[in-house]
């Protein structure tokens, strides 16, 4: 018996699952990182699937993403998708610099690991900044909307084109002051400016008279911007999912940046050089690519679909 045990401890039994005595041929740490990533995959899948549930439940009144995310910092006018496309590019780029850092870690080239790891941190920081801008813009709001008793948010239009509450009221939405309008003010303004009308939540345009009648009967308040209870873009759940899913992802990016900073300090101190391998860089790299992977799905299901 003892001989068999000794042999098992000394010899590499290759055929056993083909990884020998290590069936997976992966270290404990790497394996545990993978298991954590599986659980995180299921968490994010649940978020995105429940987003899909709500979207299938309210298909007629769910906001169009391209009406919501249509602005680019420092640029005027409507540029749907461009800003998130840039954010996606930044995250893919930081994934590439991460792979390069891992690759040079295998080759034990400390200076190059420091260079590419630092660039990855810069990429992550730029992404977080972009997300902060996106959140700020989303919370401040863009065109304004009018809530109804059935929570079908309607928007001001000019003919068959979306306009905004600010344009109707002759106010500047980006002058830094806190605006507040009442439903009565909006109705008075619609009566005075017959070129304006509304687009209902199901994207039907009403004539000026029908719009006034509809608002008199149904409107409850004028919504400017977004919070967890109400948002000017449409159904309240839309903003809740936006804050929750992009927020949870942003928290992952933030944690990733912190982890990267910690291992960068260790690399500079020579901890992994002394240890003889850069496996820690590889493990944090796995996490970082996962964050990129999640964003690929968030990008599709929140902004494209």
């Amino acid at each position: 018996m003892d001989e068999v045990l000794d042999e098992a401890l000394v010899k590499d039994h290759k055929p056993a699952w083909k990884g020998g005595d290590q069936p997976y041929e992966a270290s404990y740490g790497k394996l545990m990182m993978w298991f954590f990533l599986i659980t995180d995959t299921l968490t994010f899948s649940a978020f995105l699937a429940s987003y899909g549930f709500s979207r299938f439940k309210y298909p007629d009144i769910w906001p169009n993403p391209e009406d919501v995310f249509s602005h680019f910092p420092f640029l005027h006018g409507e540029h749907p998708l461009l800003f998130v496309a840039l954010m996606t590019f930044i995250l893919i780029m930081s994934s590439v610099t991460m792979v390069l850092a891992v690759n040079y870690g295998h080759k034990m080239q400390k200076k190059k690991v420091i260079l590419w790891l630092s660039l990855t941190i810069v990429g992550g920081a730029i992404f977080l900044g972009s997300q902060a801008w996106e959140w700020g813009h989303f919370i401040h709001g863009d065109k304004g909307g009018i809530n109804t008793q059935t929570e079908h948010v309607v928007h001001i239009a000019e003919g068959e084109k979306l306009s905004s509450v600010y344009e109707l009221m002759g106010a500047d939405g980006h002058d830094g002051t806190h605006h507040h309008f009442t439903v009565d003010q909006v109705i008075t303004s619609l009566e005075a400016n017959p070129q304006y009308n509304i687009r209902k939540a199901n994207r039907m345009y009403l004539t000026n008279e029908d719009a006034i009648a509809y608002l008199r009967e149904n409107a409850s308040e004028v919504l400017l911007g977004a919070n967890l209870k109400n948002n000017e873009y449409g159904h309240p759940l839309f903003a809740d999912y936006f804050f929750f899913i992009t927020g949870f992802h942003g928290f992952h990016v933030f944690s990733g940046v912190i982890l990267l900073i910690i291992i960068l300090i260790n690399v500079v101190k020579g901890t992994y050089e002394r240890r003889g391998h850069y496996e820690m860089v590889e493990k944090v790299g796995l996490y970082w690519h996962f964050v990129d992977l999640v964003w690929v799905f968030v990008f599709t299901f929140f902004y494209l679909v």
Partner: protein, 106 residues
Amino acid sequence: MASETKGNWWIWKVFWILLFITAFEVALGIIKPSFLVDTIFLGTKLINHVFIILTIIKAAYIINQFMHLGHEKVTLKWTILLPALILVPYLLFILLNEGFYTYLKI
């Protein structure tokens, strides 16, 4: 490690593939070709199926190349992929189906 002898060219290859697919998605999202938007297939627009397929291709490249799963032992590959491949479609099926069902009930 295979990557030690391979150099870095494969990293940039994957980068260009991911960038090209993303650019293509954004272009589709802005242009919105009418035959893709107006055709409904399996409960959603055809363009959404195109987006989802392209997203899965991107995900496959990230997992296989960047996360190196393609170079791990077959047993490890399936240990990691199977829970997601079984549970996620199941979750999606249940929730999307029920979402549509609750829509009909209003």
